[in-house]
Amino acid sequence: MTPAPDLSISGTATIDGATLFAPLTLTLGAGAWTCLLGGSGVGKTTVLRLIAGLETGAEFTGRITASDGRPVSERVAYMAQDDLLLPWATVAQNVSLGARLRGETVDLDRRDRLIERMRLQDHLTRKPSELSGGQRQRVALARTLMEDRPIVLLDEPFSALDARTRADMQDLAAEALRGRTVLLVTHDPAEAARLGQSIVVMTQHGLTPCDPPAAPAPRAVDDPNALETQGALLKLLREAA
């Protein structure tokens, strides 16, 4: 993996002439987790999809740049709320999907190491339908890591999980994605307070940066500082509505 760059997106987006978000600038610190927190429909997923180079349905005017001056969208790995596992492929095949799609030879050692790291070694030849929600998201995380990209874009990847599994996945992802430039889009203040090394609240009025809790991420689920931040973030979200 190349060293993770700073990332910056600045500009405005419109849908059919209506403003989706007014001019804004979001900077993602190199090798750090930035949590973009906001309610539905404020355009936070659009920001993520723009960085990923995906279809958004919105007209974007502005710039997306990396501090090392190299192109952005071909250096991202993407993880969504839906695990997007191919139902006809085994766990092992899903993890190595990227290489197969690019016609590259799969690094089998690396694949197996990642699968083991995600504690999935007993499920190598299983199909996704045979796995629990948490296991499926771990396969998706292994697939994301297999891509070995310096920039990782997470679109509410844990929001469909139950509370315990979600906390486990947050710890696992925080540890596994350390050192990469991560953008986590979420609507959950608790998640932002646990994971964000930088936290930005997105409302229809624009972006509001918030101080992250003092402890290093991932913070304990009962970390008083994180709980306080969670409260402050929720308050901010409610005021904006």
């Binding site: 999809r49 990923a52 180079g53 995906l54 279809e55 969208s73 071909e74 991202v76 790995a77 993407y78 969504a80 839906d82 997007l84 191919l86 139902p87 006809w88 492929a89 999907l97 990227g98 197969r100 799609l101 690019r102 016609g103 996704p128 339908s129 891509e147 874009l153």
Partner: protein, 244 residues
């Protein structure tokens, strides 16, 4: 349980049939009873088997060719906007034409033998195969395509690794429909011009007022179609179960 209910339904149908024959007293050249038909079937079993074989060959070749043609067409349509603009309206038009109307023409072009019937079977299943597979190919879940895009997949790789496997259940349902339609196509072809096959046998028996033989041929065709459907169903079970 399933076999038991199928057996019950068959017995019920036979009872209704026999009931109608007994109650109305219709002459046997109008409506022969199940007993007579069974007897005729047994007496003519070799004749019927021979004609069934002819029809079966037509249907199986037609099914194979039609499926292949439909799959290739659907892939072309899914892959090329130009093909969609040029070919799709034509496809709908061919479906709007009743196949019955084309049968005399096909017989004129391809003769009285096997190939005009194969062509009929192909024509009748081409549209369901093409349109079901094409629909499947165009309805790939958007998330998969997003993911592939962030992985810098080529169009060909996306088609092969994602769109085709995701469309297999649709193709499977098209093929199951085709298994029911293909015998219809072949039999229509035989009606229009032939000297062999169950369709021919039905016409022949009808012309000679051998209604019992006609019933025997007709029921054989029905059983054949059901068997074919079951075989195709079994064969495509893996494809249909591919999606969760």
């Amino acid at each position: 349980m399933r076999y038991l209910s199928a057996l019950a339904a068959t017995l019920f149908a036979l009872a209704v049939w026999q009931g109608v024959v007994s109650l109305t007293g219709l002459p046997k050249f109008i409506l022969p009873g199940p007993g007579l038909v069974a007897e005729t079937w047994w007496q003519n079993r070799w004749l019927i088997a021979e004609h069934t074989w002819t029809t079966a060959v037509e249907v199986v070749i037609g099914l194979a060719c039609g499926t292949l043609l439909g799959v290739v067409t659907a892939l072309q349509l899914a892959n090329s906007r130009v093909a969609r603009v040029l070919v799709q309206p034509m496809l709908v038009f061919t479906q709007a034409l009743p196949v019955f109307a084309l049968a005399p023409l096909l017989t004129l072009w391809l003769g009285y033998g096997l190939w005009s019937k194969v062509a009929m079977a192909v024509l009748i299943i081409y549209f369901p195969i093409t349109s079901s597979f094409f629909d499947g190919l165009m309805r790939t879940p958007a998330g998969y395509l997003d993911l592939a895009r962030t992985m810098q997949a080529s169009r060909g790789a996306v088609l092969w690794h994602i769109r085709i496997p995701a469309a297999l259940p649709s193709l499977a349902s098209g093929m199951r429909l085709a298994a029911v339609y293909a015998p219809i196509g072949a039999v229509i072809g035989e009606w229009v011009g032939s000297s062999q096959g169950l369709g021919y046998l039905m016409l022949l028996a009808n012309g000679r007022a051998k209604t019992d033989l006609m019933f025997a041929a007709m029921l054989t065709l029905g059983v054949f179609s059901i068997l074919l459907h079951m075989i195709v169903r079994r064969a495509t079970a893996g494809m249909a179960g591919e999606m969760r």
